[in-house]
């Protein structure tokens, strides 16, 4: 995770550039020229790197506040959200998921996910402690589909199932939010999942949360139905982040000579 290390260094440096900006030193941002005539940027613009961080932070705050409200909604109806707690949950999860999904999964599939990423398995339990909703995820490093050389840290939602008898509690949405939060905390760049193009309920749930249809996978399922690969982008693409870092470096180079006399 060399990249992350570099980013940490850069974010600590970023604070100094913010201070200097407040002292009245304007950091020029590198921008490519565009054929579209654009007005000159306002004088108080944030440095690109910092602006990007702020956008990402805003997203994180949105996730947190949404999670809080959904947890509160669940509590009103006696539904709690927990992470996977051990073997006793496994059977309940399997029963719940087997009821819903068209694809056959064997115990190995469940164990593959839950044993390796237990903290990414979130459950909704009712007042009696019975599992009424489950989401199973994993994360891995993957190659970027456009720029093959880049790797992205990808969160993957493998299964989501909710007891259909419990309504209006938004358990599905809450479980996805819990997963997204834990994937953000683990430094993921994106969250991915596949769903049938005909599964309107699932598409509605995810798309309302901001998931985009990234790809269409033709005849993806055993029943011959196409799938959409849905993606929630959690960060800027690496190319854009790189640009932000470049602008930061440039602003630092401009700052340094001014700071030297002070030292």
């Amino acid at each position: 995770m060399e990249d992350d290390g570099l980013e940490m260094v850069l974010s600590s440096l970023a604070s100094s550039s913010i201070n200097s900006a407040e002292d009245g030193v304007q950091c020029p941002a590198t921008k490519e020229t565009s054929p579209v005539a654009a007005p000159s940027p306002p004088a108080t613009r944030l440095p690109e790197h910092e602006r990007q961080q702020r956008v990402e932070e805003e997203r994180r705050q949105k996730v947190l506040s949404l999670k809080t409200s959904l947890v509160a909604l669940g509590a009103e109806h006696g539904v709690r959200y927990i992470t996977y707690g051990g073997e006793h949950h496994l059977h309940e999860i399997m029963d719940l998921i087997t009821r819903d999904l068209s694809e056959p999964y064997s115990i190995y599939t469940y164990r593959y996910f839950i044993y390796q990423w237990p903290k990414l398995c979130h459950l909704a339990v009712n007042e009696e402690g019975k599992v009424v909703g489950a989401i199973v995820c994993k994360m891995e490093n993957a190659k970027n589909s456009t720029f093959r050389l880049e790797t992205v840290k990808r969160g993957y939602i493998a299964m989501l199932a909710v007891d259909k008898t419990i309504r209006r509690v938004k358990i599905g949405t809450a479980l996805v939010i819990h997963s997204v939060e834990s994937l953000i905390n683990n430094g993921c760049d994106e969250v991915v999942l596949e769903t049938e193009t005909t599964n309107e309920a699932a598409l509605r749930l995810y798309e309302n949360l901001g998931f985009a249809r990234h790809k269409r996978l033709l005849k993806y399922y055993l029943n011959g139905v196409d799938a959409f690969r849905l993606k929630l982008w959690l960060r800027f693409p690496a190319v854009i982040r790189e640009r932000g870092k470049m602008s930061l470096m440039e602003s630092l180079q401009l700052d340094l000579p001014q700071e030297q006399p002070k030292a």
């Binding site: 956008v55 056959p104 064997s106 115990i107 903290k119 985009a212 249809r213 993806y220």
Partner: protein, 832 residues
């Protein structure tokens, strides 16, 4: 130290769990020979004290009973406990032999008690693996007896197990077929053929007809001939799919999984087959005539019906014969193919129309077709293979063939369009969009490949000619598009100046590479095409950079040679830029076609197309057109100057001059078409951009309810393939927002006043701009579009124009629906 190498540092709630892979115990002591498949069952979990023999259903006592039964009965995938070397990827031929031999003996042994004992020694989450029994084997073994995953459970439902068995037991009809039975066999197997062409497995579709397994043993002549014809058709199709080299696993399954062994040594030759199909056609017609004449005498309804049925059969044989003739000729790649094909397609279409108008089978008759068993090949498929049997649909087959014959016509006429790359791509983008089958897409690729190869073969030095002839094709394209001075016919005399010749060849070579990728993209299915477009953009960007450098170099050389008036600026560049912009626009259009963009994203997609890509493309084509004209003129002037200064050599040069002039006059400029299409798309995108912007202001487009959405992320990720590009520069999200805010500001501050070309005074002004663009699109449409596409686009323009003008009047409506029901790229708007 974490016990979870890929996971987290602690495991909440259960300290007993261990990773289930890689924990190997001393197994040899306990494993008896042939007990390998049991060891997956030693995975033991601690759920309420149950022993989990299997993930689903085999819990505790019940599970063990089922397990013991499984061992005793031994059905399933054929995991034979007495055979040591039964692997998951075992030899299918051997398995086929085992399956087909009716009396194989299993010597089963009950290991229930042993297994139970061994399992109790294992801890929760432990799994024993030995080299001959991997995790993969364990995963397959656990699927035994699972209705969703075990083929074996379905096999007992087979009514006929094989051709031989059906013949011996008399359950397979062999003779005395009625006309309606012939029709049903044909109809059902053609429906299966279509399913196969559409990507299903051969063993589960075409080869569910048992007669095909041993055609040589079928006594009935009509069925036998039909079987050989169908097999020949399958072979043609398979070969086309292989040669076209554009089908992916989701399009077509080229490798036929474990085909039943039909001895093709007995198969008739193509000519003999055509002859016997012809004789079958005559036999059927004779029968039809016989019943017709007896109907005239007796007026029995049955005779009339029989006559219709035999007639329908004769038509089907004619259809088959024509199709075989077409594909046979195509397979030979004979020169006469392109001359014969149109007539064959005419005949095919006429026959299909007659079939569609003729006798129709009822659903019962269709289902009662003799000789079909949908599960007959199931045991030949690997366990992991999709095992649902696709439903065959009655009555739709000839609709498919009607569409196919229309597509075949497009494929056949493609050859004449292979004059310049632009012209051909224009054809692919307009008529070619109708090629929606993997078969015709592959055929188109073959026509492209073979045509260029044919050109090569006409040369004297085969093998060395490909590059030159394909580069001639590219050079012709460049000449027709932007007429670069260095490629002009009279320029050869200067070519040896400096490194010009080498540079020209280098550039043409890189153009060939990118052109072949671009052409191949049109053969791929839409989803793959989009991926491939994103991937090839990097190369196109590099080519564009090279082209600009070459243009600069050649300009300097022209100045050195004192060839005043000739200008190389953007000559190569505009050609590569058009190719690149087209690929970029196609990437976004493919996304629209695959329904990837949410309503809230449509605005920036259309805006990017309108303001950046298509805007640039329209300019580039216009520039190329004027460059062509100017360079031609300059060249003529140069010649005239030369002539005046060099009167002695005038005779020959005059001729040349005359020829150049003549040729430039006789060939109409193709730019008109390209420009008209680009302008239509440009105006369409512009219209939608303005309309969607106004709708966004009025909040009439439904947005996500509780969104974690971040438009900026979407913008960058959606347009990611364009980010490495300088010309046209990638437009940042910030600039996109500024463009929007400029419009919005004007809309808020200057209601009712006009302030410049690009600003909007009000929402209604945006709608009026949209309306103007729809009208412009409609006007440009007539210059290039044809047939169905023209009608649909024109309808869209008119319909949307009305809607935006209603919206411009400020009429109140709750929301506007966006539907891609008429065209995959452009939605129709409707008031809610």
């Amino acid at each position: 130290m974490s016990p979870f190498p890929g996971g987290f540092s602690d495991l909440s709630g259960s300290s007993q769990q261990k990773p289930y892979t890689g924990h190997t115990l001393d197994w040899g002591r306990r494993v008896q020979k042939g007990m390998r498949w049991c060891c997956h069952l030693t995975l033991r979990c601690s759920g309420g004290g149950d022993n989990w023999a299997n993930g689903r259903g085999f819990r505790g006592e019940r599970g063990e009973k089922a397990l013991a039964e499984k061992m005793m009965n031994g059905f399933g995938h054929g995991h034979n406990m007495e055979e040591e070397e039964v692997e998951e990827e075992e030899d299918y031929a051997e398995r086929r032999r085992l399956e087909s031999s009716a009396h194989h003996i299993y010597n089963w042994k009950n290991v229930h008690q042993d297994l139970h004992g061994w399992a109790s020694e294992l801890d929760v989450g432990e799994l024993i693996t030995i080299p001959n029994f991997s995790l993969y084997d364990a995963m397959s073994a656990i699927e035994l007896c699972d209705v969703k995953m075990d083929i074996g459970l379905l096999l007992k439902d087979r009514k006929i197990k094989s051709f031989e068995e059906g013949m011996e037991r008399g359950s397979l009809k062999m003779d005395n077929f009625l006309a309606v039975e012939y029709l049903a066999v044909m109809e059902r197997s053609l429906a299966n053929l279509i399913l196969w062409i559409e990507g299903h497995c051969l063993a589960q579709t075409v080869f569910t007809m048992l007669y095909l397994h041993k055609p040589q043993q079928v006594p009935d002549e009509l069925i036998r001939t039909y079987c050989w014809s169908l097999l020949a058709l399958c072979e043609y199709v398979r070969q086309i799919m292989l040669d076209g080299y554009v089908v992916e696993e989701e399009d077509f399954q080229v490798t036929s999984l474990a085909l039943p062994p039909s001895s093709n040594a007995d198969a008739p030759t193509a000519a003999a087959l055509l002859k016997s199909v012809k004789s079958c056609e005559e036999t059927s017609s004779k029968q039809a005539r016989k019943h017709r004449s007896s109907f005239k005498e007796t007026s029995l309804a049955d005779d009339d019906l029989q006559s219709q049925q035999w007639n329908a059969l004769a038509m089907r044989f004619r259809f088959l014969r024509t199709l075989l003739q077409f594909f046979g000729s195509f397979a030979l790649r004979s020169e006469s193919f392109f001359a014969e094909a149109p007539q064959l397609i005419d005949l095919l279409e006429a026959t299909i129309e007659k079939i569609l108008a003729g006798y129709k089978l009822s659903e019962e008759q269709f289902r009662a077709a003799p000789g079909f068993e949908s599960l007959v090949n199931l045991h030949l498929l690997p366990p992991s293979f999709p095992r649902h049997t696709p439903a065959t649909v009655d009555g739709k087959s000839f609709d498919f063939f009607r569409s196919l014959s229309h597509q075949l016509r497009i494929v056949v006429s493609a050859r004449d369009r292979l004059k310049t790359i632009e012209g051909f791509l224009f054809y692919l983008r307009t008529d070619g969009v109708l090629l929606d089958s993997a078969l015709t897409r592959s055929m188109m690729q073959i026509v492209i490949g073979a045509s260029l190869v044919l050109k090569r073969c006409s040369g004297d030095a085969p093998g060395k000619w490909e590059l030159i002839s394909t580069s001639d094709f590219i050079a012709d394209s460049l000449r027709a598009f932007s007429n670069p001075p260095v490629l002009m016919s009279g320029f050869a005399q200067y070519e040896h100046h400096g490194q010009m010749k080498e540079y020209i060849e280098t550039f043409l070579r890189s153009c060939i590479a990118s052109t072949s990728v671009v052409l191949r993209n049109y053969g791929l299915n839409k989803a793959r095409q989009r991926d491939s477009l994103a991937a090839c953009l990097v190369d196109l960007f590099a080519l564009q950079d090279d082209a600009e450098k070459f243009d600069e170099y050649f300009n300097a050389q022209l100045a050195e040679l004192k060839l005043t008036g000739l200008n190389h600026t953007f000559c190569f560049g505009s050609w590569t830029l058009t190719t690149m912009l087209n690929a970029m626009a196609d990437f976004l259009f493919c996304g629209l076609e695959l329904q990837l963009y949410a309503n809230s994203e449509l605005h920036f997609v259309y805006w990017y197309l309108y303001d950046v890509l298509l805007h640039c493309e329209v300019q580039t084509i216009s520039r190329a057109e004027s460059a062509t004209r100017e360079n031609e003129l300059a060249w003529q002037i140069l010649h005239e100057v030369n002539l005046r200064g060099n009167k002695k050599a005038g005779g020959s040069k005059k001729k040349q001059n005359g020829r150049t002039k003549g040729s430039s006059e006789s060939v109409p400029r193709p730019h008109v078409l390209y420009l008209a299409r680009a302008q239509t798309l440009h105006h369409f995108c512009g219209a939608l951009h303005y309309a969607l912007l106004a709708l966004q202001w009025q909040e009439k487009i439904k947005r996500p309810d509780q969104s974690l959405d971040c438009e900026e992320f979407r913008y960058y990720h959606r347009l990611m393939p364009f980010q490495e590009r300088n010309a046209p520069a990638f437009v940042d999200y910030e600039q996109y927002q500024q463009v929007k805010s400029v419009m919005a500001r004007n809309h808020v501050l200057f209601v009712g006043s006009s302030s410049g070309e690009n600003s909007l005074d009000s929402v209604s002004d945006a709608y009026l701009k949209s309306s103007f663009n729809f009208q412009q699109a409609d006007r440009h449409l007539v210059l290039w579009a044809k047939g169905g596409e023209k009608a649909i686009l024109s309808k869209l323009c008119k319909r949307n124009d009305v809607i935006v003008r209603i919206l411009a009047t400020g009429r109140n409506c709750k929301a506007v629906a966006i539907n891609f029901d008429l065209h995959p790229w452009f939605p129709s708007l409707s008031l809610l």
